[in-house]
């Protein structure tokens, strides 16, 4: 599967309790009338009640950090207004397509979640932040449909902001910077967006899928939401499964579902045999070994194994793949996607890329492997955003999960490494916008109301 094919992924299926929640077997766009007829925009819970319901539901963010949403919302609500809500659908991870699917096909469920968030924290402006053009158009249409319907009463202003698709553009501070007219590049923290975000106001930046779950929680209640998934991370989550599987696409599963079941939904490994491994979290979560098929798909469970679920993108690596080649390609991606703002990121990701390329080319000695590990330790937690951590995760997971494979590459040429991996590791063509770019080059904005 290529990166381009992920732009509008097919739906693969669902393993949930009580059927699909966010995904519907549709390839068209759900209109305002259809959404209302299905019970949308009729939520009885508003204002502080949303926060209480969210707290009981135990919804955790689906953008990657899996942080409890109620705590984040409370932190914004407690600060003096005006406040903003941002729907973050930029999806910097190239292997992820869930947020753009939601905005393209079910924009109203995301918008209803954003309206509930605005009601809960007392925000008067909603920003829909997106890189995908069809998703942006669908969001604009949704805002126009809402505006045309007067039965809902006054609603916050809804603005759509389009930015170039880059890895760092989805980082919270990049989002705020782009909304304020700057380039979509990260800034140092503090302040964090919940303290001072868009226009200097407290801003709730929330992933599109998370807000879609919020819409269901305010409609059906926390109890129903907790009817699926694990106790610590209830509900369902969207996974973008791609790579060497027979039916790549979007899957909705209850948290805690085994990867083996998801792989079965995706038709199994292309070409048969056992998978060589999985790239998790898009590229951020590192590369996991075949043992992962029996682990529950849940942030905490995977984290204890040193794997990051991230935004729920899973790339299946077929039997014929060499994980060193995959790691080297991802390392190259991170080096290319550096915003070139922080020295540790520019030099650190380039050094990691070079060392991984040496390993892939059979030119590494044992000291180079130690050096690689040291580089990973040096870049972790540094810089304005988490991009260096992504590079560190790839290195550390490779060495931890595949020690034998890494040892086999020291001073030896691996023939499987010569096979291209671009078909499973889609690269972004666009380079990050440099900090010197003019704001109008980095975004387009439409104020819908």
């Amino acid at each position: 599967m290529t990166g381009a094919a992920l732009a509008d992924p097919p739906l693969v299926g669902a393993i949930t309790v009580g059927g699909e929640r966010l995904l519907q077997q549709r390839c068209d766009r759900e209109s305002f009338a259809e959404y209302r007829a299905a019970g949308g925009y009729r939520n009885a819970v508003r204002g502080a009640g949303v926060l209480r319901e969210l707290s009981v539901a135990g919804l955790r963010g689906r953008g990657g950090a899996a942080f409890p949403t109620a705590i984040k919302w409370q932190a914004v609500a407690e600060r003096p207004g005006p406040r903003h809500v941002v729907v973050n659908a930029e999806e910097g991870e190239p292997a992820s397509a869930k947020d753009r699917w939601l905005l393209r096909h079910r924009p109203h469920i995301v918008v209803e979640g954003a309206l509930a968030a605005a009601s809960a924290i007392g925000a008067d402006t909603i920003w829909i932040y997106v890189a995908d053009r069809p998703a942006a158009e669908s969001a604009r249409e949704a805002a126009a449909e809402l505006r045309a319907d007067t039965s809902l009463g006054p609603i916050p202003r809804i603005n759509v902001v389009e930015v170039p698709h880059t890895y760092v553009a989805g980082e919270e501070t990049s989002v705020v910077r782009a909304i304020d007219g700057g380039p979509a590049l990260p800034t140092t923290k503090p302040p964090r967006p919940f303290e001072r975000g868009a226009a200097g106001s407290p801003t709730l930046v929330q992933n599109a899928e998370t807000l879609a779950h919020v819409a269901l929680i305010v409609r059906s209640g926390a109890k129903q939401f907790r009817g699926a998934g694990s106790n610590t991370a209830p509900g369902t989550l969207l996974l973008t499964i791609s790579g060497d599987c027979i039916r790549p696409g979007l899957v909705e599963v209850a948290t805690g579902t085994r990867l083996r079941e998801v792989l079965a939904l995706a038709g199994g490994v292309r070409g048969g045999g056992a998978p060589a491994g999985f790239a998790f979290g898009g590229y951020f979560g590192g590369i996991a070994g075949p043992r992962t098929v029996d682990l529950p798909i849940e942030h905490d469970a995977l984290r204890t194994e040193g794997i990051g679920l991230g935004c729920g993108a899973v790339i299946v690596l077929g039997t014929h793949r060499c994980v060193v080649a995959v790691a080297a390609t991802i390392g190259k991606f991170f080096a290319a996607q550096s915003a070139h703002q922080c020295g540790v990121c520019v030099r650190g990701t380039a050094a990691i890329q070079g060392a991984l390329e040496r390993l892939r080319g059979g030119r590494a000695d044992p000291a180079n492997v130690e050096q690689l590990q040291r580089f990973a330790g040096l870049v972790r937690g540094r810089g304005a955003c988490a991009l260096p951590d992504g590079a560190a995760n790839v290195v550390e997971s490779l060495i931890r999960e595949f020690p034998g494979t890494v040892a086999d590459h020291v001073g030896r040429v691996c023939l499987r490494c010569r096979l291209p991996v671009d078909d499973v590791i889609p690269n972004l063509a666009a380079r990050p916008v440099t900090s010197g770019a003019r704001p109008e080059e980095t975004r387009s904005r439409e104020e819908s109301q």
């Binding site: 950090a65 942080f67 409890p68 705590i71 984040k72 409370q74 932190a75 988490a386």
Partner: protein, 121 residues
């Protein structure tokens, strides 16, 4: 136990943190749910100061990364939203605090001498 009077109950308003800083110690006290809690003014996650944090019932939410701690036991209720070694965040250092019949808040200074400069990780 080496209880020392550090503040008067009248100085404390509900859920507002009072910072007490002196040679060798930096701590906060807070009145919530009719109980006084004392803890080190240092987040176990990054070492950041906690005196601008929020308290609801017995839960302290760090203003920096929104980590949550139980003020009774110091245990981590919610790991920080981001940052280095999020899962390795240790418990908040809490001190024994008492209010006497005259309304004086006393804190176990013996513990402050041991831990007042911040949590031992």
């Amino acid at each position: 136990m080496k209880l020392e009077k550090v503040a008067c109950l009248e100085e404390l308003s509900d859920r507002k943190l009072l910072r007490l800083k002196g040679p060798g110690y930096d701590l906060c006290i807070v009145l919530t749910d009719n109980k006084v809690h004392a803890f080190a003014n240092r987040c176990p996650h990054t070492g950041a100061r906690l005196h601008a944090s929020r308290v609801r019932h017995n839960v302290l939410t760090c203003s920096h990364h929104l980590a949550q701690f139980d003020l009774c036991s110091g245990s981590v209720l919610t790991f920080p939203m981001e940052g280095l070694d999020v899962e390795k965040t240790g418990p908040l250092v809490v001190f024994d605090a008492e209010v006497d019949a005259d309304g004086w808040v006393s804190v176990d200074l013996g513990e402050i001498e041991l831990y007042g400069r911040g949590p031992v990780r």
